[in-house]
Symmetry: C2
DNA sequence: AAAGTGACGAGAGAATGTTGCAGGAATCCC
DNA sequence: GGGATTCCTGCAACATTCTCTCGTCACTTT
């Protein structure tokens, strides 16, 4: 009873503080203070401040990658990919604070963070890129442009979670319920459809000329 | 001779380190070490670590706001607004590292940073929103949707400068010359045109029905 | 009763931001 | 030329804060 409670309290507190103040901006004292537990408990449960971060990372990424891998094994259809997009947005929204934190920390040249995420990120990129490519296989988009579009696609997956602090109030309205995930992933999907369609058209035109 | 050199060296070093490691992640000793100057020189020139940050902020934002104010006084035309968009992207790209830093730091709940930026941000929002609204005045887009689109617009202005560390290599290719600024602002402008056009069409359709 | 576990308090050891002081080297002013 | 000023260095000290470890206590389990 007691352990689950305190350990979870530490995790919650650190999650929130990392989100608002960043990893370097929060001390273990801050965390312990917010969780209302003793400072040494953090070392006890997670060994380090870094160990705590690592624990949170694994807990966050493990189900996420699982989700991706599940869809990587399904039959390749556009609908399946579109469904995955919505599920990704849903997952990120569900763990909104930590998602923000991860994306922000990824813009830093932090060896520690990157080292513990590199396998997850590689898997994510591999799976997403494969599905992305197969979805656009019908329209003959070439190599360099495909990569650029993929970059743009990944940008769309993270943009809502990199909003500045002073814009969040308005954004939180959208984040409040499941409405946002649906709407926003629809935006991405619409962009996708538009992409396929417009390229087909320009392809046809070139054929005529 | 000497003073300009060392002061500038400190500014360069701190700019780079804030960019890669964040404000809290860099110590004054790191900065002094990288600039190859004495630690006490930072206090000498800028009083504080915070003073150094403040100095950099002012130096970055002053010309930026000046640019915005210049265009706020011009006659209201779509072309003028489009031109401003490209100039903004150009400015941000020119000061790429510090732009990234500012955008990242804005996602934090950092009182110090926010306090010294609040006036700049207010001015920026005021001017941009006015121009944005006037540009979309022709098409009858309503209040709430207008604000949502404005949010999206501001998101587009900062997305390229929030790229994760491991995606930058590919991005730097685009950032290498003036090509990027032109291309990317064209992307925004096209989105804008599409916005006006599609809304006009749906408006007409409703009229017919 | 013994062993194990979760929690606490104190504190060591290191890092950080900041300040102070003695001096060197260049520049400016008379 | 000589003195004053300015810019910079080097070293040291300071208080503060940080992370992390240690010994101990209370409670539970065996």
């Amino acid at each position: 009873m007691r352990n689950a409670s305190t350990k979870q309290k530490v995790m919650d507190a650190s999650g929130y503080l990392f989100f608002t103040k960043g990893y370097h901006g929060t001390s273990v004292r801050d965390i312990a203070g917010r969780a209302k537990v003793n400072v040494s408990l953090i070392s006890y449960h997670f060994k380090n401040k870094q160990g705590l971060l690592e624990f949170l990372m694994v807990e966050y990424f493990e189900p996420y990658i699982e989700l991706l891998e599940e869809y990587a094994q399904k039959e390749d259809s556009k609908e399946s990919f579109y469904q995955l997009i919505e599920l990704i947005i849903q997952y990120k929204k569900k763990h909104y604070q930590f998602t923000c934190f991860v994306h922000r920390e990824l813009t830093l040249d932090n060896v520690l963070v990157r080292e513990m995420m590199v396998t997850y990120l590689a898997k994510e990129k591999y799976i997403l890129y494969r599905l992305f490519k197969q979805c656009l296989h019908g329209s003959g988009i070439k190599g360099t442009q495909l990569q650029y579009l993929f970059l743009q696609f990944k940008g769309m997956l993270m943009t809502p979670f990199m909003m500045p602090y002073d814009m969040r109030d308005q954004n939180v309205l959208d984040h409040s319920d499941n409405y946002f995930s649906e709407q926003y992933s629809q935006t991405i999907i619409r962009w996708f459809d538009h992409l396929i369609e417009s390229h087909k058209i320009s392809y046809k035109k070139e054929g005529i000329i």
